[in-house]
């Protein structure tokens, strides 16, 4: 087996001193890549836990020039995760689980096929999110039937995860009622709590002409701002992107179906064609390591007489 190439990774800020490792499917399907994270998890750092993010699997997409292994890529990713020596605590799928279709029955079929495939993951805890492909044409009806709620929270080892839905509205808004729900939830959190937001579209204006924005994303970021320790993981743009809005880091993940060009780099947004000399190039998954909360030591100076 090839030795893992550390240069292929990016070390990122966020998650309370945690580390994000992005790996690519093109290099041994990310097996070696993720393997190094396992090393890391085995004690090189005093980590809390790690989880894996997969995104934009677009199950049902067909386009041989874009991905001739459309039926196999997701299965390979499942294999890659299952082969990790130390299994992650959980897995998140940040939307566009299925490729959109007008046919309601086909939509439902794609969702159940997707569920069958990811049912092969060894990790028992998997959190799903919707993308506009899953949820925009029926306001999330089929999605909720298959996967449950569109927005929700969960807690894991001291980290508060908030799933924000910016896709069930075809106009890409989070909406007033969800915003109120978010604000009420954040109120329960201390300002220094470790918070991770999981969502599909970018919450900031990455490239609105390509629908790479959330209409009322600024309101979401404003609500998060008082919290000192917030990191956002999202999908939608089918490539890595790392961006700061104030102290909040936003990290987008690669797709597991087709890569998209860099924002504004071409006149029309269209999938990057398959490169036969570098299969699976631009596709991938990532593991995210949550570092421990920094220990605080209270120091009190005493003089020799003990006073």
């Amino acid at each position: 087996m090839n030795k893992f190439d550390r240069r292929g990774f990016i070390k990122l800020a966020g998650l309370g001193g945690g580390v994000v490792f992005a790996s690519s499917l093109s290099r041994g399907f990310g097996l070696n890549a993720l393997g190094s994270v396992v090393d890391y998890a085995n004690g090189k750092a005093q980590n809390d836990f790690y989880f894996v993010q997969l995104s934009d699997t677009h199950w049902g997409f067909a386009g041989p020039k874009v991905n001739p292994d459309a039926e196999g890529t997701l299965k390979k990713a499942v294999q890659a995760v299952n082969s990790l020596e130390v299994q992650p605590d959980f897995i998140v799928f940040t939307g566009d689980l299925t490729h959109t279709t007008d046919n309601v029955q086909v939509r439902k079929d794609r969702m159940s096929q997707f569920k069958d495939i990811v049912g092969g993951l060894k990790v028992p805890t998997v959190h799903f999110m919707a993308g506009e492909h899953d949820a925009s044409l029926d306001r999330g009806d089929a999605y909720q039937e298959a996967f449950g709620k569109l927005n929700y929270t969960f807690d894991h080892k001291g980290v508060h995860f908030v799933v924000v839905d910016n896709v069930s509205d075809p106009g890409a808004s989070v909406g007033e009622s969800q915003l109120n729900w978010l604000k009420a939830d954040l109120k329960q959190q201390k300002t220094d709590a470790r918070i991770v937001v999981l969502t599909h579209r970018p919450l900031f204006d990455l490239y609105p002409d390509w629908d790479w924005a959330t209409k009322d994303g600024t309101a979401v970021i404003d609500a998060l701002m008082p919290h000192k320790n917030v990191t956002v993981f999202y999908g939608h743009i089918h490539q890595e992107n790392h961006h700061m809005t104030g102290h909040i880091a936003h990290h987008s993940a690669k797709s597991l179906m087709f890569p998209l060009p860099a924002p504004g780099s071409v006149p029309k947004k269209a999938p990057v064609p398959w490169d036969a000399s570098a299969p699976y190039k631009g596709l991938g998954l990532r593991s995210i390591e949550a570092g421990p909360k920094q220990a605080k030591y209270e120091i009190k100076e005493l003089n020799v007489t003990g006073a």
Binding site: T100, G171, A172, A270
Partner: protein, 124 residues
């Protein structure tokens, strides 16, 4: 001033008041000469998908859908509208800058939505 002259002066003043009043009336209700540009959104395409405008020339986009609900958004000028089948949506615009600007569908409409864009070119 004799009587005859006074009548004449009053007449002139009156006439000019009427004329200027008429002018004001005409100006307030004048329909500016707007060029109408018809755009159809259908089958995940805008047609035309390239529109050339002149800086300072007022235009009105009349946008209709040939199939389903779409959106039309020209962000550089801060204008957008929903585009519904069986309805004409209007956007008035007088471009105040030159350049090449993208318009796009901003309501997710299905498989093809992603590529549903066009260009507005504004010349001097």
């Amino acid at each position: 001033m004799n009587h005859k002259k006074r009548i004449l002066l009053t007449g002139v003043l009156l006439a000019s008041a009427v004329v200027s009043g008429l002018l004001t009336y005409t100006r307030a209700n004048a329909v500016p000469v707007e060029r109408v540009i018809h755009i159809t959104a259908k089958n995940f395409q805008f047609s035309p998908d390239s529109i050339t405008l002149k800086k300072g020339e007022p235009v009105v986009f009349e946008i209709s859908s040939g199939d389903r609900k779409h959106g039309f958004s020209l962000r550089a000028f801060g204008v957008r509208t929903d585009v519904l089948p069986g309805k004409v949506s209007r956007i008035r615009l007088t471009p105040d800058k030159t350049g090449k600007f993208t318009f796009s569908c901003d309501v997710f409409c299905g498989d093809g939505h992603e590529e549903m864009t066009g260009t507005v070119i504004v010349t001097e």
